[in-house]
Symmetry: C2
Subunit: 212 residues, 2 copies
Amino acid sequence: MSQTDTKQRILDAAEHLFARDGYHATSLRSITTEAEANLAAVNYHFGSKESLLEAIIDRRLRPLNQIRQGQLDALLQKTEAAGTIPSCRDVLRTFVEPTLRLRKQGSGSENFIALIGRTLAEPQGIAMSIFMRNMEPLLARLFQALNLSLPGVSRQVLFWRVHFVFGSLSHVMRCHERHSIVPEDVSIDMSVEEEVELFLDFAVAGMEVKKQ
Amino acid sequence: MSQTDTKQRILDAAEHLFARDGYHATSLRSITTEAEANLAAVNYHFGSKESLLEAIIDRRLRPLNQIRQGQLDALLQKTEAAGTIPSCRDVLRTFVEPTLRLRKQGSGSENFIALIGRTLAEPQGIAMSIFMRNMEPLLARLFQALNLSLPGVSRQVLFWRVHFVFGSLSHVMRCHERHSIVPEDVSIDMSVEEEVELFLDFAVAGMEVKKQ
DNA sequence: GTCTATACGATGATAGAC
DNA sequence: GTCTATCATCGTATAGAC
């Protein structure tokens, strides 16, 4: 049992429990029990419960945002070279696709996705401020790219539609399974690709609509 | 100070704090302090913290759902009498409009809307189960009406799109003010009517889209 | 440097005496 | 209705074993 093993196990257990029960409803004791570690190990490795949350978010959000950023940059370079503007769908895909793909990647990443989904729903929570520190640059560039891709939509209306899209996406992120009401004739099993396209069908239609 | 005054003040204070900080992050002490009541008054009037939450949700959700139900029934009767099918926009409006209108009604109802928005983001929380008890019949009828209004959309796809719409709506409900990033040239002040129509523009486009 | 055992002070929800 | 006591549990700190 090396240091990294214990540290990893604590991260994984906390990620799981924070996602399932929420930050405040999860005790350090339940985390260390699940991680088969001593209670004091959290303080030794991370300093505090809050810093533990920060480590959890940083660990996966940093590489995820690098992928998103890379895909967005590649898209913008390609369209600029071709003298065209990117489609709204392609811009949104650079954000949505890496997100939903990460969830199916295993090793606890599905817990991270759910945790972020919850975080987006707690505007003044501590998790939100940690999260936003990592997101602000990318979000600004995303908004700019969407503005470019939708010349017919005012920035005012665009802002709200982006807001709606983030609401949808965060809902999808946190409600992977256990839908409250699923009619018997509806299946919720889908591949990443199906999931992404179904979401984009919805989101892009809402983003592009011209008010009649 | 009569009994009902104390009970109301506790309900109002708890509604406010639960909406702002979340159920678990709110202590009974902070509630009774804000309500200028004794700590034990919560237990006297409601029995427990959980029952207090239940009372908060029941108090406003019951009349809200009656309004929604009434508008949906009226719409369905009207279209049936005319031998037509209701539009997706009109069906959604019976749900969305009373919601956003309640928020502007004052006397703490804006806190309730935010609280429900948060509740929808905590799939296995205790608030969700309380909430769902009040919502299930209406949600089933809403899904049925949407199915009627969108004959070209399979129940499978419809389910997901309804899921996306609820994600958007719950996000709007909990993030009334304090958006994380608001560009300087964007105003977030709107009337209820503007807000409803802007949301429906987005949601209906997503609901009606035919996959190419 | 890693990890454990244990204790501390604060705060949680609740219940019984009044 | 209120006051106070109770008891569990919280996050954190420390002292020392490996």
